[in-house]
């Protein structure tokens, strides 16, 4: 029996538009389990990114509950959410969003410094290890603008996991990358998941979806399907591709 680390109940998200309301999420119920690599898929405008940000507390739901550690994210104060972001959650964005005037090492280390659970020396040591793990230690003093998109995204992943988050959120992390870099980033995420990292990723890339252990399909603001998969292994990529493809077809993707 898997342990749920985050659950959403009756989640709604609406935006005011031209005097009316646009409902992006409508009564979404979902649970994220420890150790899972959960992927949210759906057509453009289906509400997948909105769901990700509502579940992560980056954005507040209009109604419903998002429970994490026994507390509702929707009612948490800004400061409590800020603390959560450097203690329990990690984020990876499609556009990397590294701080342009910090070196790669500093981009990784700053959230570690912010989280005062570790000493500066421990944070530095952990950042060095992550740089090594991500294969970017040779360019650690470079600025984001001086490295490739793939290297930036690997740095963003290292930044997201510097504080050993309970849950890693990734919004189309390969959306801005070429094929080679996409594979490298997905390999890193898969490796992290294998080491026990829970991940929730939004993607519309089939290759990225293959790395999941669980896929949620969203359409018109509602989760309409769920597919559970065994942990990813390169050997069975082809059969996995067929299985996921067929399932997505059934979802009218």
């Amino acid at each position: 029996m898997k342990k749920a680390i985050l659950s959403a109940k009756g989640l709604c998200k609406s935006f005011a538009h031209n005097g009316g309301q646009i409902h992006i999420l409508s009564q979404v119920d979902a649970e994220l389990y420890e150790g899972d690599f959960t992927v949210i898929m759906g057509a453009s405008g289906s509400g997948k990114s909105t769901l990700l940000y509502s579940l992560s507390g980056m954005d507040r739901a209009t109604a419903g509950q998002v429970t994490y550690g026994g507390r509702d994210l929707v009612t948490m104060s800004e400061n409590e959410l800020a603390k959560l972001r450097h203690t329990d959650f990690g984020f990876i964005f499609q556009q990397m969003h590294l701080v342009s005037n910090l070196s790669l090492f500093e981009n990784i280390a700053v959230p570690g410094y912010l989280n005062k659970r570790k000493t500066a020396a421990e944070v530095n040591e952990r950042a060095e290890k992550l740089l090594e793990q991500m294969g970017i230690s040779h360019i650690k003093t470079h600025l984001p603008s001086q490295v490739s998109g793939g290297e930036q995204q690997r740095c963003a992943i290292a930044r997201a996991v510097i504080n050993d988050p309970k849950l890693l959120f990734a919004d189309e992390p390969t959306g801005a990358l070429n094929r080679k870099n996409t594979t490298e980033v997905l390999d890193l995420l898969t490796e992290l998941n294998r080491s026990g990292q829970s991940i929730l990723m939004v993607t519309h890339d089939m290759r990225a979806a293959l790395r999941a252990t669980r896929i949620l399909y969203i359409a018109d603001g509602k989760i309409i399907g769920e597919l559970t998969l065994p942990p990813y292994g390169p050997a069975e990529e082809k059969s996995r591709d067929t299985q996921v493809g067929a399932w997505l077809n059934s979802m009218e993707w």
Binding site: A82, K83, H86, H97, N101, V110, P111, Y113, L114, V123
Partner: protein, 786 residues
């Protein structure tokens, strides 16, 4: 039409920058408009008052016995003289007002309704002033400020027959001697009282007690067709009729006006320098605003170019946008200057003694505004040069290239204190943006420290000595002439009480030096003066020392020989040293009694005693009063009367100028910090989102923002502090030269330097914290790419 549409859109969407420019220009316009208008009002008031009082181009104050009909006829007939008129007066030595001893001699004159009388509140003239009764007096309005004199106050005049009491019946506007800056004053009494005192109380010239001497004030009006200047006319009349040699002193309208406006002029000069600094600050702020706008709106500007807008048109839109801001600001500044000019006029009225209008010098101020606007607009046109480098292709494909920074000061980020290290990185990675802000802080602190040092120095006791006056504990007035043996006896009696005491005998007289009439202070030992700048004090009978300004006036320098003329004749003297003094606006010279005896009979009229122990002052006063009470009046004092009144005036001026400069600096810091912060925030909006996404709180980010501006302000303020320490002496000397201070040495205290530094740093920190309130509105959601 397209220009108007974009201009309107720019103003509407960049209200912050537009408003900031309006505010900055309004503050600048307000500052110069108030000072220029106030100065003009004072000058106009003085001119009006001079005309009403029928004051000559210069007046000769001369013993009545030295004036005869022949001299008057000769003067009237001189081709360079238009006309001559004389006033009768009794020159008096000693008086008290409200039990306060008069600081300078004064003139008793007949009241002939020759000056306007103020109403009780000194706000208007009384159209029907009360007829003066016997025992009553009208006095210049400055007596109210100097002695706290009120209507009904008692003025006690010391005569050889005892004390005469007069009750102050009102205050008059007297432009010639009425200013607070001029020591000698005139007191107007009834014709009957005047005649009585003249017949009963005046002293004979030969009398050792010369408390009251009949005097003539000859007003000489230059012939309009004469080619001589007033100074040349004085020299010429002296050459022909020995007029100046015979006179006690002379004063021209120009001299009187210069002394009356001494402090307002100095204040104006200080503010003028400050306004120039403010204009530089406006240009720095505008430059920062333009650079940031070009950076943040690179795409929009590129699109405009792609649509066919030329770089010239876009630059014109920017120039017009700021031009309208500057115009609006100057109009607001002019309007706001109306009430403030009124207030400033009231501040200076007790100093000048002149009732001034509260008009705004609209034409002059508009011209200055226009000059500033033109300079700023031209500068803006140059500052927008970067627009020509915007590439439409790059703009359409995503905007300006990412900025690569290669900082020379690459301080690594450390955990504690994280906000400081991140702030440092933000500064060092975008140094160019912060140089301007730092420069603004530097300029503000530089001027604030300079003005604080001036204010501190101006009120310190050391200033009295530095400006050629005495800072002794006991002063005494001699009521008659004393010979050398008497002087030695007095000095010995003081030294018997305090062997380290210094006893200085002094007299002031107007003597000619190379035919220029200048004030000469005679001392028993000129070396006692602590304001020597170059050379040495006169040691021998043929030596004098002179102030820098007087040397300039007569075209001589140290080591040169000059001819000094007195009542007994003239002799050649060598200039042995240059010193500074506030006496007669710094145009004076000094010599020893031995040297003065060669050309005239000059006897000391004052004694300045400096003791090694303040506690001995009363003992010395008692000793002198008991043993020499018949020839002198001694009193314990902290400052000499002259220096005291000067310090009072400087205090008033300094309080006004310091207050204005501190307030304007704070207002400028407020507007510029807000303007810069808003632009920086716009540029860094994405970074704010990223920092929030990794767990920074809004308040933490705001603190970081404020720390950044604190660092920028601290660096700038430190530079301003260094600049002030290096150059404030020179700048103040330059500004104060017109009041006789050719060298102003500042003595820095920790507070005078730290207070402006701290004020600007705190202002920047607090204002940046408030200006960054928009950080709260940045949502992490903005980082999402849908």
């Amino acid at each position: 039409m397209e220009i108007l549409t974009l201009l309107k859109a720019n103003i509407l969407h960049k209200k912050g920058s537009f408003m900031s420019v309006i505010l900055l220009m309004a503050i600048v316009t307000l500052s110069f408009s108030v000072t220029v208008s106030n100065n003009d009002n004072i000058s106009d008031g003085i001119e009006r008052s001079f005309s009403a009082a029928d004051t000559g181009d210069f007046a000769v104050f001369i013993n009545e016995s030295d004036v005869d009909e022949e001299l008057t006829e000769k003067l009237t007939a001189d081709e360079n003289v238009g006309r001559v008129r004389s006033d009768e007066a009794i020159a008096c030595l000693s008086y008290t007002v409200n039990d306060t001893e008069g600081k300078s001699p004064y003139l008793l004159m007949k009241w002939e309704n020759n000056y306007p009388v103020y109403d009780d509140r000194l706000k208007n003239f009384n159209d029907f002033p009360k007829e003066l009764s016997d025992g009553e007096a009208y006095v210049p309005a400055a007596l109210k400020t100097v002695y706290g004199c009120e209507k009904g106050s008692e003025i006690v005049i010391n005569t050889k027959n005892g004390k005469e009491k007069f009750t102050v019946s009102g205050f008059i506007e007297e432009p010639f001697l009425g200013s607070m800056s001029i020591g000698i004053k005139d007191i107007f009494i009834t014709e009957k009282d005047y005649a009585r005192l003249y017949s009963e109380s005046v002293d004979a010239e030969s009398s050792p007690l010369r408390l009251m001497l009949p005097t003539s004030i000859i007003h000489i009006f230059r012939n309009e067709n004469s080619t001589l200047s007033v100074n040349e006319l004085k020299k010429e009349l002296n050459r022909r009729y020995e007029l100046i040699d015979k006179a006690m002193f002379t004063m021209s309208r120009e001299n009187s006006e210069n002394i009356t406006t001494l402090f307002t002029d100095t204040g104006t000069k200080l503010l003028a320098v400050y306004v120039i600094l403010l204009i530089v600050i406006i240009m720095i702020a505008i430059n920062h605003s333009i650079s940031s706008t070009i950076e943040t709106e690179y795409v929009s500007l590129g699109i405009l170019k792609a649509q066919g807008f030329t770089k010239g048109k876009i630059r014109l839109i920017y120039a017009l946008q700021y031009f309208f801001g500057l115009i609006t600001g100057s109009v607001i500044g002019l309007v706001l200057s109306v009430p403030l000019t009124n207030i400033l006029g009231k501040v200076f009225q007790p100093i000048t003694g002149i009732m001034t209008a509260t008009d705004i010098s609209v034409g002059k101020c508009m011209l200055i505004s226009l000059g500033i606007i033109v300079v700023c607009t031209v500068y803006i046109f140059f500052a927008t040069k970067k627009i020509s480098r915007i590439s439409p292709v790059r703009a359409i494909s995503g905007g300006a290239e990412e900025v690569h920074f290669d900082s020379m000061i690459n301080i690594p980020i450390r955990q504690k204190p994280l906000p400081f290290f991140i702030a440092m990185r933000q500064i060092t990675s975008d140094m160019k943006s912060y140089i301007g802000t730092s420069l603004i802080a530097a300029l503000l602190v530089f001027f604030m420290i300079t003005i604080t040092l001036l204010a501190d120095g101006a009120t310190a006791n050391t200033m009295i000595e530095a400006f050629g006056a005495f800072n002794g504990q006991v002063n005494a007035k001699l009521n008659g002439s004393t010979d050398k043996s008497m002087q030695d006896e007095i000095a010995a009696s003081v030294k018997a009480i305090d062997k380290d005491a210094s006893v200085t005998f002094s007299e002031t007289a107007y003597l000619t030096i190379d035919d220029n009439e200048l004030c000469c202070t005679v001392y028993n030992d000129p070396a006692i003066l602590k304001s020597l700048l170059k050379g040495r004090a006169p040691l021998y009978e043929n030596e004098i020392m002179i102030t820098e300004l007087a040397a300039e006036e007569i075209g001589k320098k140290m080591g040169d020989t000059v001819t000094v003329g007195g009542s007994k004749g003239s002799s050649e003297y060598v200039i042995s040293g240059i010193y500074q003094s506030v006496q007669d606006m710094g145009k004076c010279f000094a010599m020893s009694f031995d040297a003065a005896s060669v050309i005239g009979e000059i006897s000391p009229s004052a004694i300045y005693i400096t003791l090694s122990d303040d506690a001995l002052a009363d003992k010395v006063v008692t000793e002198l009063s008991d043993n020499y009470g018949d020839i002198l009046e001694a009193k314990a004092t902290e400052k000499s009367g002259y220096a005291e009144s000067m310090t009072d005036m400087i205090d008033t001026l300094m309080n006004v100028v310091t207050g204005v400069i501190y307030s304007v600096s704070a207002a400028f810091a407020l507007v510029t910090v807000h303007m810069v912060c808003t632009k920086v925030f716009l540029r860094e909006r994405k970074d704010v989102g990223i920092y929030k996404a990794i767990g920074f709180t809004s308040s933490g980010l705001r603190l970081q923002f404020a720390v950044r501006f604190l660092i920028v302000a601290a660096v700038g303020s430190a530079a301003g502090m260094v600049l002030a320490l290096l150059f404030s002496d020179d700048i103040l000397s330059l500004l104060l030269k017109n009041i006789g201070i050719s060298f102003f040495s500042v003595s820095c205290t920790v507070s005078s330097v730290i207070a402006p530094f701290a004020l600007i740093c705190v202002c920047f920190f607090v204002l940046a914290f408030f200006a960054s309130h928009k950080v709260r509105r940045v949502a992490v959601r903005e980082l999402i790419t849908e």
